[in-house]
């Protein structure tokens, strides 16, 4: 099967690049071996500045509304973090003390929302907090068998008005209500409608995964990609690539076997370690499909920081590219393979980290593709990272170079 572009990896990066290319008239396919990091998404696109018109349109056409305000957001453990570009659900405040009297609402039987940690954090920031529990059964709502965010959201999306009623009864002179982020899985308008129905500021606070706003975002992007005519191959894995003289001709997938996916250009958006875009042995970090050059610290002892909460160096490891995001292999760019998203690690500090970097690199890779192939071998600015040198692999087993 032949496409203009085949995108490997169907998370935030692959979908945004795919939508951009479909909008520009390309015929693309996305291959994704499993679900992705949007299932853990907080709702804030870290390190993205003010959204361009193009980006805001791309999201709003998919039914996703973004807002941008420099400030801080409340984290699931009651701490605060600087954030800017976010989904509409996420409240952004100029400073951590965003209210005086806070009613913090949890749900009986739900163990994935840490209300007492949050209360402690808010009290440290100078707020008065009362925690109250909703009892779904007493409210006449049949609780789901499994009390996790997604199952709860499916139930509460049908019953959010009852929740509003109950919260109204609990409200005294509180200026703020905090609810867990378990609303609006299928219907993105519900968080906004809850906000409008309560006479206090409403803040939705993060829960343990899976992330309800993240999954909703994923489904909306995926739906939009389908409407634009994109082909999404869910649950399939690229296991091999056919290269010839620095050009990728086709990729082989687990499900399609002998039926290769051919394309003019390819995007590698397979994510980081969690998604297996990067893998490691005790000796090295490598990219499994193309054997692309990867920047990592040679000394394994430097990969981790023993303190869990500290910055972990391995998160910064990533695939090396040139300035147009073309993937380097053995020091030279493959002319039609671009990398984008968290597989880049922090090898491009100017792109930032987190989901903001994913958006920016997805659009950049798509734009490089749309502006046509300009193989500029002189423009090799491999690996911007200062402490993690690039490592070339001798052709990995998975790559079949044709003679």
């Amino acid at each position: 099967m032949r496409f203009d572009t085949v995108i490997i990896g169907g998370g935030l990066t692959g979908l945004v690049a795919g939508i951009r290319l479909q909008k520009a008239g390309q015929n693309t396919a996305i291959v994704s071996s499993g679900q992705n990091a949007l299932h853990f998404f907080s709702g804030s696109f870290e390190s993205f500045g003010e959204p361009t018109r193009e980006l805001a349109d791309l999201f709003s056409e998919a039914g996703i509304h973004l807002h941008y305000k420099e400030g801080v957001r409340l984290m699931p453990m009651g701490t605060f973090r600087p954030s800017a570009l976010s989904l509409e659900d996420i409240s952004l405040f100029p400073k951590p003390q965003f209210g005086k009297k806070v009613l913090l609402v949890n749900i009986v039987g739900y163990h994935d929302f840490f209300s007492s940690f949050i209360a402690q954090g808010l009290e440290e920031a100078g707020m008065d907090v009362r925690i109250r529990f909703l009892n779904l059964t007493e409210m006449g709502i049949k609780a789901p068998g499994e009390m996790r965010s997604v199952q709860l959201a499916r139930t509460l999306d049908r019953n959010w008005e009852k929740v509003v009623q109950e919260v109204r009864l609990l409200l005294k002179d509180d200026d703020t209500v905090i609810l867990p982020q378990v609303f609006g899985l299928q219907d993105a308008s519900i968080p906004g409608r809850i906000r409008q129905s309560l006479p206090a500021q409403v803040v939705f606070a993060g829960t343990l995964p899976p992330s309800v706003p993240g999954i909703r975002t994923l489904h909306l992007l995926k739906h939009r990609y389908g409407v634009l005519g994109g082909t999404y191959l869910m649950g399939d894995e690229v296991v091999q690539a056919h290269l010839y003289e620095g050009v990728v001709h086709s990729v082989v997938t687990k499900n399609l076997g002998q039926h290769y996916l051919e394309a003019g250009t390819f995007i590698l958006a397979t994510g980081s370690f969690f998604s297996k875009g990067l893998s490691s042995t005790p000796e090295k970090v490598y990219e499994p499909i193309f054997g692309a050059d990867v920047s990592f610290l040679p000394d394994r002892n430097g990969w981790y920081n023993p303190s869990f909460a500290e910055k972990q160096p391995y998160i910064g490891f990533g695939v090396c590219t040139d300035g147009d995001l073309r993937v380097l292999k053995d020091g030279a760019p493959l002319s039609n393979l671009y990398a984008a998203g968290s597989i880049l690690g922090a090898t491009h500090p100017e792109l930032g980290t987190g989901a903001g970097m994913c958006l920016r690199s997805a659009l950049k890779a798509a734009d490089s593709i749309l502006s046509g192939p300009v193989p500029s071998h002189s423009d090799n600015s491999p690996c911007h990272s200062d402490n993690s040198p690039c490592h070339s692999e001798q052709s990995e087993e998975s790559v079949e170079s044709q003679a």
Binding site: Q35, R148, M234, G235, K254, N255, L256, F274
Partner: protein
């Protein structure tokens, strides 16, 4: 330290990172509070079962074996295979007569076919349904698939000579449904393949693929079927024949369930077993052409059956249908219809089954197509019973669209 790279646990269960992604996609977890869900029933439970088989939980029987958890898992854990293997290995409860009857699709076919008109009348009668419901716990809402008077094998055998005259040959694994209940689908396949210059042969006495035996934990019988089928498939493959199929579930069983669940080695035939839509798509891609009618108009909504989703071949059926001039095509959101083979026939599962299917039925009603297309016979019964819309295999639609 190389051993790390080569150690693979059964069904990859040690790869589980406890990320909870699978729990988002399990259709049973959503509606049946008795079911522990893929993570607990699969990798979590496996750790306990390995310690002590007493940890086996009988509630694993509620698993549909839809494989949606596997398709979603970012870490490649074969969650559904773990669950089905555990049932085969640890569940020693006696097999009900009802389950034996439901599982023995080809035995029933053989017995009932000669008295088809009577059998259809009897199984369709209110009294019989009530009796089946009361005595065997087969839900009264279900309509039994009709039995055909002449088997497909009988029909194809009569034109062996004509078929042998075609320059290219394939063998057809038709399955019980085509043979006993709906020979028309087999005839449609023969029509389309003949139009492409391909003649169709029977295998040397295929048996039911055995999926219903597996899900009703009749391991011994299932293994006997698998061994027999692999032997006849090998015979065909040795003659240089590809094997085509028209049922996504039979295909998945022949290719993946045999080695994964029954330990039957099918490596000599696995890559030769192709769903007809893939075979036909590949012929067309290589330059063959089909003589389409000019006056064909149909609004088609395509439903991807769970096992098709797992195979990852829905794309072939989709692209084929889109190729037909005069087709208005909609891809339905991927969701389980709830029947899962014999599962939905059981009285204790009827409600769960219908609740699972509801989002799909709703989606179909909204699209309001002329016909729903799908490659699975049990989905067909379920969707037709629950929505009233007609359901056709893509191959039959293709046959209708030919001159």
């Amino acid at each position: 330290m190389k051993y790390q790279e080569y150690t693979v646990s059964p069904h990859n269960f040690e790869e589980c990172t406890k990320c909870t992604v699978c729990t988002v996609y399990c259709p049973v977890l959503e509606v049946n509070p008795l079911y522990p869900g893929p993570k607990q029933a699969g990798p979590d439970g496996e750790r306990l079962r390995l310690k002590d088989p007493a940890f086996f939980d009988a509630a694993l029987k509620y698993c549909l074996n839809c494989k949606r958890c596997e398709v979603a898992c970012p870490s490649g854990v074969k969650v559904a295979d773990l669950i089905q293997s555990a049932r085969l290995k640890y569940d020693h409860s006696p097999i009900k007569l009802r389950d034996r009857i439901l599982a023995s699709t080809d035995f029933m076919g053989k017995m009932v076919r000669p008295i088809a008109p009577v059998a259809n009348l009897v199984t369709g009668m209110g009294v019989t349904k009530t009796a089946l419901d009361a005595i065997l716990a087969i839900d009264r809402h279900r309509s039994f698939p009709k039995y055909s008077g002449r088997s497909f094998e009988f029909w194809l055998n009569r034109q062996r000579k004509e078929q042998a005259a075609f320059p290219q040959q394939v063998a057809y694994f038709h399955g019980c449904y085509v043979n006993y209940n709906y020979p028309q689908l087999g005839k449609d396949l023969v029509k389309v393949l003949n139009a492409l210059g391909v003649g169709v042969q029977l295998l040397d006495k295929e048996k039911c693929c055995g999926i219903a035996l597996i899900t009703n934990k009749m391991t011994k019988e299932a293994t006997a079927h698998a061994t027999h089928n692999v032997a006849v498939l090998e015979k065909a493959v040795e003659k240089g024949l590809k094997i085509v199929t028209t049922s996504s579930t039979c295909t998945l069983t022949l290719r993946d369930e045999y080695p994964e669940l029954l330990g039957v080695d099918n490596s000599a035939v696995r890559d030769s077993v192709l769903l007809a839509s893939r075979f036909i798509y590949e012929k067309l891609e290589q330059g063959a052409a089909l003589p389409f009618r000019k006056d064909f108009h149909k609004k088609i909504a395509y439903h991807t059956p769970c096992h098709m989703e797992k195979l990852g071949w829905g794309v072939f059926s989709e692209k084929l249908l889109r190729m037909i001039p005069g087709v208005e095509f909609t891809l339905l959101d991927s969701a389980c219809c709830g029947i899962a083979g014999t599962y939905g026939f059981k009285k204790e599962n009827y409600k769960t089954s219908q609740a699972i299917g509801e989002p799909l039925f709703e989606n179909i009603r909204t699209v309001n197509p002329d016909v729903v297309a799908c490659d699975c016979e049990t989905c067909k019964w379920q969707i037709e019973m629950s929505t009233g819309y007609p359901v056709q295999n893509p191959i039959s639609i293709l046959a209708d669209a030919l001159e």
